[in-house]
Symmetry: C2
Subunit: 209 residues, 2 copies
DNA sequence: TCGTTTACAGACGTTCATGTATGTTAGGCG
DNA sequence: CGCCTAACATACATGAACGTCTGTAAACGA
C-alpha cells in the first residue's frame, strides 16, 4: 500500500486541512493527534511521518496564512508622492475582502487568536511581536511624511494615528472572528476604516463625501 | 494538623495567588495542578479540597478581576445632561491607571488574553461576548444622544464611534499586556483616547487644546 | 527486474496528569 | 471534655496522549 509521491502530498494536505478543522473546533491544546488523524481519514502514524509533532503541525498552519500587515505595508507606502491614506485604506479593504470570502483563512486566524501562546508557542508570539513592531514603524514613518505636508489632522500625531489604525483593524477582525462573524466584515470594516481615516485627514475631513 | 477557619481561608487565597502566577508563567493548559500546589506550598489534596478542578480555579480568577466595561458604562452615562465624552474619557483613564499600577490585575488579564477558550472555557468567552454586546449598546445609545445634540463629528455615526472606542481600548490593552508592557499605558493610553475623542467631537475639535 | 526506500498502519511501552479514596490530626462545638 | 468533622496529606487507580518501533506492500530508481 505504498502511495505515489502525488498521493503522499495529497494526504499531507488532508492532514493539514483536518488539523485546521479540528484545531478550530476543539482548540489547539484540547485537540489530540488521534482527533486529527480520524478527521483526515488516516492513522497517527501518517501524521508522525509528515510532521514531527503537534507543534510542527501548528507552525504549518501559522505559516500558511497571510497576515494583514503584509498587505498594509505595501511598497507603494514608501513612494514619496503616494496618497498614503488612500493606499492604506485600499490595502486594508482588500485584505478584509479576502478574509471575508475565505472560510479557511477565517478558521486559521480564529485558531491563532484563541490559542495559548505560553510554552511551546511562545516563539510564534514573539515573531508576531516583531512583525507588529515593523509594521508600526513603517506606518508611522509614512504618516510622518503626511504630517510634514500638513495633511494630518492637528488632533493626531503620526504615532497615535498609526496605533489607532492598527488597533482598529485588530479589534475589528478579532471581534468578527471570535464573536461569531455577526456583522458584515468587508462592509462595516471598510466603512469604519474610512471614517477613521477621514478623521486623520486634515481640515478637509468634513467636506469629504 | 487540622487548621483553623482563618488558616484555611489563608491557604485558599494562597492557592488562588499561586494559580495566578503559574497560569501566567506556563499558560492555563500547560499548567498542572502539581505546579500550582508546589507554588502554593501545599499538596494537590488541598487544591482539590477547595476547588473542584482546574476549570473552577480558572473561573475564580476570571471572577476576581474587574473588566474595563464595568467602569466605562458608568451610571453617569445614562443621565441626559452629562458630558458623555468627558465621562467616557475619565472612566477609561481611571481604569487604565488601575491596571497600570496593579501587577496582579495585569497577570490575570494576560492569562485571560492568552488562554484557549475552546472546550471547557467556551462559556467564559460567551459571557464575555454578552458583556461586550451590552457595553456596545450602552455606549452607542449614549453617543446617539450626543449626536442628536449635534455634538458628534460628521465623520462618525454613533455605532462606528462606539466601535472605534472599544477597539482602541482593547487594542491598547492587548498590545501592552501581550507585548511586554513596553510603553507607558496610563500616559499614552490616555493621550490616544483623548485624540480619538477629540476627533469624535464636532467641529470644535481643532480649536481644542 | 530486483533491491531499496517510501509512505504509511498498527502495536507497544511509557509518561504524566487527573480524580478519588483513604489516612491523619487537630479545631470547634455541644 | 470528648466526639465529629473540617482541612488537609498521601497513596492509589485510571486513562489518555504521546512518541517510537516494527511490519509491510508498493513505488521508484538502477
Amino acid at each position: 500500500m505504498r502511495r505515489t509521491k502525488a498521493e503522499a502530498e495529497a494526504t499531507r494536505r488532508q492532514i493539514i486541512c483536518a488539523a485546521e478543522r479540528v484545531f478550530f473546533k476543539k482548540g489547539v491544546s484540547n485537540a489530540t493527534m488521534e482527533d486529527v488523524a480520524k478527521a483526515a481519514g488516516v492513522t497517527r502514524g501518517a501524521i508522525y511521518w509528515h510532521f514531527a509533532n503537534k507543534t510542527a503541525l501548528f507552525m504549518e498552519l501559522y505559516k500558511s496564512v497571510p497576515l494583514p500587515q503584509e498587505d498594509m505595508v505595501a511598497r507603494e507606502l514608501e513612494s514619496d508622492d503616494a496618497d498614503v491614506f488612500a493606499v492604506v485604506e485600499r490595502a486594508a479593504a482588500k485584505w478584509l475582502d479576502a478574509l471575508a470570502s475565505d472560510e479557511q483563512r477565517q478558521r486559521i486566524l480564529t485558531i491563532l487568536l484563541r490559542c495559548d501562546y505560553s510554552g511551546e508557542f511562545a516563539p510564534v508570539l514573539e515573531k508576531q511581536q516583531h512583525v507588529d513592531d515593523d509594521h508600526k514603524c513603517k506606518l508611522e514613518s509614512a504618516l510622518a511624511r503626511v504630517a510634514s505636508k500638513g495633511q494630518l489632522s492637528a488632533c493626531w500625531t503620526p504615532r497615535s494615528a498609526a496605533s489607532a489604525l492598527r488597533w482598529m483593524m485588530k479589534g475589528l477582525c478579532s471581534e468578527w472572528l471570535l464573536h461569531g462573524r455577526r456583522f458584515d466584515l468587508a462592509g462595516e470594516g471598510r466603512e469604519n476604516l474610512r471614517r477613521l481615516i477621514e478623521s486623520l485627514r486634515g481640515a478637509d475631513a468634513t467636506r469629504a463625501r
